[in-house]
Subunit: 683 residues, 2 copies
């Protein structure tokens, strides 16, 4: 108990004061009796939400009194220390939304004695979105676009001032906003909104600066979208900017594929067809527009309820999105037109959203390391950690980020498209029908495989051999690694002629040999050239990583995160077997999922993340692999399979044949599997 | 001479220093020998222009040495105290533009001893445009949009940074610009411009903040436009933003006339046809676009060389330009959607200018007092004067501004359209064929008249009686005043029945009488109703003026300025005879011409004028005549003709019959005229 004299709850605001303790923040202060909970919270900087400015209509400021003796806080929080459930709360409860038992409106409840007041998570302005993977930090929900409900003074002939000025006065008085700007399109709707709402409106304010939308009455929903523009696919997530929740996600092929499968062929298209960038710009914008319309519909909202959109993409996607010619990015010195983040009206990108919607394109790191990598960096936040992280995003090029809170490096390595299944004889994009998992029995050299779109292994019931269409990136990694583990490949990556004597799966193929992975329906074989392509790709990736490690002065990394579609699909063990990435304790090598898209989502939900990634990108040291003499040396050294790593023995144990699964459920029976593998090795 | 030891001109920059005196500013300072004139000027804050940043290519920093002994400045300015005409100057002289004798490039000329350097007006950044009328202040030329020439670092693979960042670095280093923003459309052209200019570009910067255009190499021309949107006509002036000169002017009818002749009928159109404001918005924007295209062609430039446009108009024109519904302006409380100045991309108004062009719409004063009045106020600048000015802009309403540097008042008075020739039996807009000048012989009651489009009076050779089409506003003022002076009207404005006995020009017209002003071809008569309409209009105007005078606490004003088309055409003497405006010494009652358009031009040429008018408009006290009880009293009192003014005897002398002109030249023979008039009165 405090030593100060206690106020009498019966004095009804006359003279006394009360100690108010907020949980979970622990903030506390004394206030005159009769003070509103919301005002006390604001005075103490307690994170208690309100859209309607304390008028009892938005219901955002709900609190719960903790009743009892709280020795820890020195407070006797008695029920009668709060005002009774009043008419405003009753009206809210009956007309708007029922209040759960114990819930009070902070704006309509006043204190008459010491109280402990709990602010439940849904009443906090700065909510947090917990991410699926425990190893990454939660996303703070503090969007750039916020809703502000105000009551505007009606016009007065004697003191003529425009609707906008009176709106700004209200926003200044009620929300402490000043120096506001207002789009012409808002002006077009302002008049009608003010009158329809009888001078009560909800305003969407971007960055505490720009009035971007206005609606009559109280509005309490506002949405945003995060878009990840890949060369192959475009993904969009529509988020509720109040809760931070993803309400819908959608994906589509990037229609630019018709101008060229990979990035360089799209750049070539522009070189051969001057002005061709405009066609590709129009195509990608239309695709995003359609995708957002689809996602919005899926989430049960209209596209014009989306007021903010963040976008990431590699430098060429980034330039084509913005209508910038990408040709310079296809040739040294790989000059970006703009590297810093681009903040612009979404209307300039023709995305079909609310007329006032804004777009934010994350910064690019360098000519080869784009806004998608900025998204990965933001999502993974290696710059917040003490340990040294290696983050790799594999596509046509591999973007490599290395470092910790002290120093960050980035580079792009020319892996070529082999990891994406291109330039591989049976290769294809990761799509249904593509072989994604492979196991080869070292005794018989017989393969078992699984395709995308099916849970069954090839030796299980339900597997449709005719459904096999080719092999995707992660499948190629596995088959090459398994070929090595089964003794089909030697350390130099040569398919051994003598293996052909043990199995008809190994066949002559011109002057070299090939491994026939699948032969019902179409034939999928792994040729010597395919192995070479994978060796070149993995050597390029590894050499890039080594270059950054040299520069940072480290011999090993503490953790490795594999981002992107390839990183999500790949079994990290096989990446280690092949030596795609350097030595690292296996549990610390994990997939980061679609980190670029997650980064876009973070930039959407948390305004401080934007300045954070802008600052971070500026201080990243950019390494251009093409002009680093040591790159070539590392590259040559990294061609062998397996690249020598300290983790190799441990790895070899970890890589086991899968068990035949009775139920078709994934991941079961690994124990039996491991036992069988040990038997196989023992022979 | 200064007491400091003089430097030796032969020391060639070694150790000595030199006194540099600039004229006309008189600024002076000592600099090490070898200092460039441009650097000395910058160090002293001397107004010496440069676009190319001192590279000897723009030729803007030309100076002239004043050679000789200047006791006043204490300087012996000898020719050898300046560096010799050097290779950079020779190159400029031969390749770019010949330098006049004595002219030097300040960026390529260094001092080796004391000098007096004259900065000619065309080398000053802040030029002044002298206006035709001596009584108004000159316009400072300091536009919001300025050109900046820079040399940008080429891209470097080792330090990757975007073209935009390197451009910004150059703008920061060479022009001290920071925190720049860049439009997407500039990004679209930046890449090509930088490469076409071999990393030398000229950038247009708006308000030291926004990069709005970029061109390869040195560009030194940039244009703007000032647009005055009247209910009837739209006028545009295209200006050279470097010299401040008007290079072309054009006018067109406001196509909104097809939706309604006057403002209220256009508001009614929207009331009757919801969404009709969009048609009118599209119409006026298309008209401005066409007009600017026409004016640009006339000035020999392309519309996309226009980078800035300022616009004025009455509140309804203002709202329709911006796409805002004007209905609220047609009814109490006459609420503007936006009163403050609107700064926006010109593209939002679809004006067909450079994609980066900006638009600035002057602020509105009140629901009846628009951006056109703000233009008038800026042009006339009564807020800079000690004496009390009355500025009147007559249209369908009369906008009235009264005050001086201490206090400013404004109101709108409902004069109705009579002054514009509407609701008058023979009335018409001021257009060829309209009677604009009238004299009535008090003896014979015979009129003489002149029409717009002809210099001949009706009793002179060359007058085509069949060309008369009606009577315009200024003609109505004159005929009513002359009818009174000739004794046809009594003080109450009644056409005297006994006048019909003296002349067949005065005829019975129902229960009242009319004066037949013209009867060859069409008949133009002035009916009792017409006289009443003028009485009502002039009483409304006068009552509004009186109300402001009451509020300001003055009995008389020091000067009166009549703005707008009506104010330009009207003979101020007749306005005084009729009592449209209060007592004022006749020489201080003058026409202000198209002051609204001039105000737009000032806001275009001088960036400080924008904040000046915004500040001024905010502090103007707005009087709503409709709710002022004293308005009615003033109104009734002002119905009589002539309204009693102290100046009346002087006025009556000033108003004389014109002489018959032998040559057709205007204004000749006033002496004889006056004599004849005195004879007439003497009878």
């Amino acid at each position: 108990m405090t030593s100060r004299p206690e106020s009498d709850p019966k004095t009804d605001g006359q003279g006394g004061d009360a100690l108010v303790v907020f949980t979970p923040s622990g903030r506390r202060g004394r206030f005159p009796t009769g003070t509103r909970i919301l005002d006390a919270a604001r005075a103490l900087g307690v994170d208690l939400d309100s859209v309607c400015g304390g008028r009892g209509i938005c219901g955002r400021c709900q609190v719960v009194q903790s009743v009892g003796e709280f020795a820890k806080h020195g407070v006797s929080s008695r029920a009668e220390h709060l005002s009774e459930f009043g008419p405003i709360e009753r009206r809210y409860h009956e007309k708007r939304a029922p209040l759960a038992p114990g819930r009070r409106l902070g704006c309509s409840t006043t204190v008459f004695g010491d109280v402990v007041i709990d602010v439940p998570p849904d009443s906090q302005v700065h909510r947090q979105v917990v991410r699926k993977r425990a190893e990454v930090h939660a996303i703070k929900v503090d969007p750039v676009v916020r809703l502000r409900y105000v009551e505007v003074a009606p016009p007065d002939m004697h003191e003529p001032s425009g609707d906008l000025r009176r709106l700004e006065v209200a926003l200044g008085e009620e929300w402490d906003l000043s120096d506001l700007r207002c789009d012409l399109q808002v002006l077009e709707t302002l008049q009608a909104a003010l009158r329809a709402g009888n001078w009560r409106v909800t305003v969407a304010v971007h960055g505490d600066r720009d009035i971007i939308a206005v609606w009559p009455d109280l509005g309490d929903r506002v949405y945003g979208a995060a878009v990840d523009i890949g060369s192959t696919t475009i993904a969009a997530h529509v988020c509720d900017l109040v809760s931070g929740d993803v309400i819908a996600s959608a994906g589509a092929m990037n229609p630019q594929i018709r101008f060229g499968e990979d990035l360089m062929s799209r750049v070539s298209y522009v070189m051969m067809n001057p002005g061709g960038e405009r066609e590709m710009t129009a195509a990608v914008r239309a695709a995003i527009r359609d995708l957002l319309r689809e996602a919005a519909a899926q989430g049960g909202i209209a596209p014009d309820e989306i007021l903010d959109v963040t976008l990431v993409g590699n430098p060429i996607m980034h330039h084509l999105l913005l209508g910038l010619n990408p040709v310079e990015l296809g040739q040294a010195p790989f000059a970006l037109t703009v590297d810093r983040a681009v903040d612009l009206p979404a209307g300039a990108l023709d995305l079909g959203l609310h007329p006032g919607a804004r777009a934010y394109v994350l910064p690019c790191v360098a000519g080869h390391v784009g806004a998608d990598t900025a998204g990965v960096i933001l999502s993974e936040a290696p710059y917040l950690r003490d340990e040294v992280s290696l983050v790799v995003d594999v596509g046509t090029n591999a973007e490599i980020v290395l470092g910790n809170r002290d120093r960050m490096l980035a580079a792009s390595s020319p892996t070529g498209p082999a990891f994406e299944g291109a330039q591989i004889s049976g290769g294809q994009r990761a799509a249904p029908g593509a072989i994604e998992r492979v196991r080869i029995d070292p005794a018989t050299l017989e393969p078992r495989l699984r395709i995308i779109g099916s849970d069954a292994w090839s030796d299980e019931p339900g597997f449709d051999a005719a459904a096999v269409t080719g092999i995707c990136g992660s499948g190629i990694i596995e088959v090459v690694a398994e070929m090595y583990l089964a003794g089909i490949l030697d350390e130099d990556g040569v398919i051994r002629a003598d293996a052909a004597r043990h199995s008809d799966r190994v066949v002559q193929d011109g002057r070299t040999y090939a491994y026939v992975l699948h032969r019902s329906g179409i034939e999928v074989r792994v040729t010597q050239n395919d192995v070479r392509a994978i060796q070149l790709a993995k050597a390029a990736l590894y050499a890039g990583v080594r270059l950054l490690m040299d520069r940072l002065g480290v011999d090993r990394v503490d953790r490795i995160r594999l981002a992107g579609a390839f990183g999500s699909h790949i079994d990290v063990k096989y990446a280690m077997v092949l030596g795609l990435v350097p030595d690292c304790a296996l549990p610390h090598v994990t997939s980061a999922g679609n980190a670029a898209g997650t980064g876009a989502r973070i930039a959407l939900l948390d305004r401080s993340a934007r300045s954070e990634i802008e600052r971070t990108v500026r201080r990243i040291e950019k390494i251009e692999t093409a002009v680093e003499p040591r790159f070539q040396a590392h590259f040559v050294e990294a061609m062998a399979i397996p690249h020598k790593t300290a983790a190799y023995p441990e790895l070899a144990k970890a890589v086991t044949l899968p068990a035949r699964k009775p139920s078709g459920a994934r991941g079961e029976g690994e124990g039996g599997d491991r036992r069988r593998r040990r038997r196989a090795r023992a022979r």
